[in-house]
């Protein structure tokens, strides 16, 4: 059997993920996240290119005031570095490390890549407006029973089901 098609049991993966979330809260008081790390990298880059602008603009200002500490040196950035290492490790173990494009067989590579770009842009904007993405706000938020996590859950997954019909050509 093809090893690259075998996956860990979903419930076991979920339970272990929950245990790692508890560990993140216990040791660092932080929730797992991804968009927050991307935001930190963007802020650090803009700050490097034009510090004067970053120090004045309201979106950047709060994060770039401390001159001694880079705005990229946050817990989430280190966590994402770990995520990268962990994903590569797992993919190597299962023999899934190879260049490819994931898509439905009915659409062209070009369509898939354009869709991925648009989807990425929307996710970037949405995660900033909604104060976090699926992992940072919804999953971690649900873990501490925060109302915002459940609102995000309804918006993202509910919205997904509403929209699924209109974009079915991309996936089926």
């Amino acid at each position: 059997m093809d090893k690259s098609k075998t996956y860990m049991n979903s419930y076991l993966a979920g339970i272990l993920l929950g245990v790692f979330m508890i560990a993140a809260y216990y040791f660092s008081g932080e929730g797992l996240g991804a968009s927050g790390a991307m935001k930190a990298v963007v802020i650090a880059s803009v700050n490097d290119i034009n510090h004067e602008y970053a120090a004045k603009a309201p979106y950047f200002a709060a994060r770039v005031q401390n001159e001694d500490k880079s705005p990229a040196k946050t817990w989430l950035v280190f966590e994402i570095l770990g995520v990268i290492a962990g994903a590569i490790l797992s993919a190597a173990l299962y023999g899934r490390l190879k260049l490819s494009i994931g898509k439905a067989p009915t659409i062209s590579n070009r369509t898939r890549l354009i869709a991925a770009l648009i989807g990425g842009i929307l996710f970037g904007v949405g995660s900033q407006l909604g104060r976090g993405c699926t992992s940072g706000m919804v999953m971690s938020g649900m873990g501490v029973l925060s109302l915002s996590g459940f609102i995000g859950l309804v918006a993202i997954f509910g919205g997904g089901y509403v929209l699924a019909y209109f974009f079915r050509k991309l996936w089926i």
Binding site: F78, G102, G126, V144, L145, I151, I156, G159, F167
Partner: protein, 200 residues
């Protein structure tokens, strides 16, 4: 008593190292569960693969049970940890924008990073798009988003207290609903995949 870093029990550098180690676990599990496969992710909306739903709910339920038990036994102070504040209007609108992003792009930020580093070209483009989106948001923050982002402010709201029940009751109800859902999606997936072969 936890959390260790916010209460000063461990230093900044050790905290970053712990973040890295926890990240390894997070990334490994996302990859091992199949979250780098965009077909598996999108399957949740079409009924042929529910891995997202299963992993997501199991993780949230496990974390909630663990955290509230630890809080009860005095091992962690939930007042000191990261707690997403509720601003219901931007969360709802932002969530809907993310729903568009999810159904069109086929990833979310966390899974796209895992997929990008394991060789999925579409995921690399998605990460690029997300960064463009964040930069675009940042440079249009004042005129477009600043006001909207602060609307619907409710502060720190615990959903159980908001509904007027205890945390434990809410967790129990959530788990029972999840268990029923888990059973239901197994049936749905069987029916959907019986009609047609979905190549993952």
């Amino acid at each position: 008593m936890g959390p260790l870093f916010p209460t000063g029990a461990i230093g900044d550098e050790l905290n970053m190292l712990i973040g890295f180690i926890i990240g390894i676990g997070f990334g490994f599990l996302l990859e091992a569960a199949g979250f780098t496969n965009t077909r598996k992710l999108a399957g949740v909306f079409y009924g042929y693969d529910f891995v997202v739903l299963k992993v997501f709910f199991s993780a949230a339920i496990t974390a909630a049970i663990g955290l509230f038990l630890m809080n009860h036994y005095g091992l962690i102070d939930l007042n000191e940890i990261y707690y997403p504040k509720t601003f219901w209007i931007p969360t709802l609108i932002g969530g809907f924008i993310m729903a568009f992003g999810f159904i069109i792009g086929g990833f979310c930020p966390g899974t796209s990073i895992c997929a990008a580093v394991t060789g999925k070209i579409d995921a690399m483009i998605f990460v690029l798009g997300a960064i463009i989106g964040i930069v675009g948001y940042a440079f249009t923050y004042e005129p477009l988003w600043e006001h909207l982002r602060g609307t619907g402010k409710m502060g720190k709201v615990d959903i159980a207290h908001w509904m007027g029940i205890s945390d434990g009751t809410f967790i129990l109800i959530m788990t029972i609903i999840a268990a029923i859902t888990f059973f239901a999606i197994t049936v749905i997936q069987k029916r959907v995949t019986a009609k047609r072969d979905y190549q993952l």
